[in-house]
């Protein structure tokens, strides 16, 4: 297998030290007359946490769903790794095994479905209404422990808080360990502490399993702290680079009303809670979390 060719079209300055690489080439999505995405090309590297930020309606969730093959799109998703078939990966090395955490679930809150049931229906063909596989239970407990959620195994889905549900879904997406992890963060419903725990966990997982992670984020302060790479998306890739590079970009300031580029350090990482974000811009995609949310 050829090593990953280092052609990043000048978009990535970092060298590609990972052995695998996901390439999105010329993705485009149209709903009828409306162009949602056009000409999106990206390289995602193993062991990197790539955050996608952008205003409402920028096509962030659509991009993930197109990558999953759920939405019709033009362009190609290619996956390359040096060893050919990775452990746990699908047989076709060009089709990565994708773990996905959707932005929101649509279940009825009173539905009698436990966290274990969710693992059962995803992980086994045995009918979950007849048997609860002991293997799946053990597996689920182990991976839930990885995201500090093992105590939730027998809880009903409807009784989980936003943050708990997000961690459960993360554990589910990691079972089996995917090549590519796509996380679509909810716009609201998760408290600041839960959110920080989530980013911390995702960040650890990235190192532990050498995964490529794409995270749609609404919290720029946390992105600045945890992401290796940030992509500013608004129908197409506007800026791709390190958090500092993207947040100091003029377009970021225009789209988010950011004043980071003018802050003294120029590095937003230290500014927790996004103290320098101008909340007055109505176009902002919820970058600011109000106290008590």
């Amino acid at each position: 297998m050829a090593k990953h060719e280092h052609k990043c079209d000048g978009l990535c300055e970092q060298h590609c030290e990972g052995l695998c690489c996901t390439k999105i080439e010329n993705f485009g999505v149209k709903f009828g007359e409306h162009t949602i995405l056009e000409d999106v090309s990206l390289h995602i590297h193993c062991g990197e946490l790539t955050a996608i930020v952008g205003p409402n309606g920028a096509g962030k969730s659509t991009l993930l769903r197109a990558m999953l093959g759920e939405i019709k799109h033009t362009g190609e998703l290619k996956y390359e790794n040096d060893e050919g078939k990775k452990f746990g990966a699908s047989a076709n090395k060009n089709a990565p095994l994708i773990g996905y955490v959707p932005q929101q679930l649509s279940f009825d809150v009173h539905t009698p479905t436990s966290v274990l049931d969710l693992f059962l229906v995803c992980r086994t063909r045995k009918p979950a209404w007849l048997v609860a596989s002991k293997n799946v239970r053990a597996e689920a407990t182990a991976i839930l422990a990885r995201v500090s959620a093992e105590h939730l195994l027998d809880r009903k889905l409807g009784t989980l808080s936003g943050g708990e549900l997000q961690r459960v879904l993360l554990a589910l997406a990691l079972n089996p360990i995917p090549d590519l992890l796509l996380l679509d963060e909810p716009v609201s419903g998760i408290d600041q502490k839960g959110l920080e725990l989530f980013y911390k966990t995702v960040s650890e997982i990235r190192k532990e399993y050498d995964l490529s992670i794409i995270l749609i984020s609404h919290d720029l302060a946390l992105v600045a702290e945890y992401a290796d790479r940030v992509i500013l998306l608004n129908k197409t890739v506007i800026k791709n680079g390190t958090p500092q590079e993207v947040f100091s970009h003029d377009e970021s300031a225009r789209l988010f009303g950011l004043s980071w580029s003018r802050s003294s350090s120029g590095v937003p990482g230290g500014a927790s809670n996004g103290a320098t974000i101008d909340a007055s811009n109505s176009n902002a995609d919820a970058p600011v979390r109000k106290a008590g949310e």
Partner: protein, 276 residues
């Protein structure tokens, strides 16, 4: 064909209400059909499809009307064919369309029932078909039971195969798709199973009550269950219990069997509501 069953009932349940053959037939039919309602009902309730399943009943009614005017074949075959086509059509429209699915289902549902009523009332002799509105459980014959037995095995097998997928789709379509589930095929198989069971049962339970049979046991079970296994078990038990109790009550009080069954299920639902 059913001699073994008649002897078994005489031996196990030597009561007054089981003496006649039609009561034995009705009892067997209830034991075959109520577990299916219990099973399918769980996902009807979890998927918030109560209105959808109601419209499938209306489609089945039109199917029976069409089967009747086509003649030559038993109305039930025409009814099954039509209601499956009807169920697949509204499933496709529901998934394709972006407007509220409630409205679309409502339009199809009322159109179907109107067409059925027009056909059956043509020539002014609707009274002979009014049994399709309220049903007659005691009219079950051996052929019906044979058909029911086949459907029982078929739906049970289908449920073993698709419940995991139906459940995942009900939680999140995106998540299901990312796990390789064909969401559209899953929904179509599920609605076809509902259409099949509802259509066969409608002649005994009637258009007016059929949907409550599907929704009530599962809704009651939902109130008292913590996971999918408890949910299914409770729903099936409540469905079978309501069916048998309703049959016995209807015999002693000489009232509609379908209505008695639904009333028992409703009482159980309200009891579980208190518990929740």
């Amino acid at each position: 064909m059913l001699e073994w069953w008649y002897q078994l009932v005489d031996f196990v349940l030597p009561f007054q209400w089981t003496e006649s053959e039609f009561m034995k037939n009705a009892l067997l039919a209830i034991l075959l059909v109520t577990p299916l309602f219990g099973l399918l009902g769980t996902m009807v309730v979890s998927n918030r499809m109560a209105f959808f399943s109601d419209s499938i009943g209306h489609g089945a009614f039109t199917g029976i009307a069409l089967g009747t005017i086509l003649g030559g074949i038993k109305p039930i075959w025409g009814a099954i064919a039509f209601s499956i086509v009807f169920a697949v059509t509204i499933t496709l429209i529901k998934t394709r369309s972006k407007s509220s699915s409630d409205t679309i289902i409502g339009v199809f549902s009322s159109t179907a029932v109107a067409v059925g009523l027009v056909i059956l009332s043509f020539g002014g002799n609707f009274n002979s078909f009014s049994s399709y509105l309220i049903g007659d459980l005691l009219s079950i014959n051996q052929m019906d039971i044979a058909l029911l037995a086949i459907v029982f095995v078929g739906v049970l097998a289908l449920w073993v195969f698709i419940l995991n997928k139906v459940l995942l789709v009900s939680i999140s379509e995106s998540l299901a798709a990312s796990r390789g589930v064909n969401t559209l095929l899953t929904e179509i198989l599920f609605t076809c199973a509902i259409a099949l069971v509802v259509t066969i049962t409608i002649q005994w339970v009637g258009l007016l009550l059929i949907n409550s049979l599907l929704v009530l046991p599962a809704a009651a079970a939902r109130n008292i269950s913590k996971n999918v296994r408890q949910y299914h078990l409770a729903s099936v038990i409540i469905a079978v219990f309501s069916g048998v109790t309703g049959l016995i009550l209807s015999y002693f009080f000489n009232v509609s069997t379908g209505a008695s069954v639904v009333l028992v299920a409703a009482v159980i639902f309200f009891l579980t509501l208190i518990k929740r």
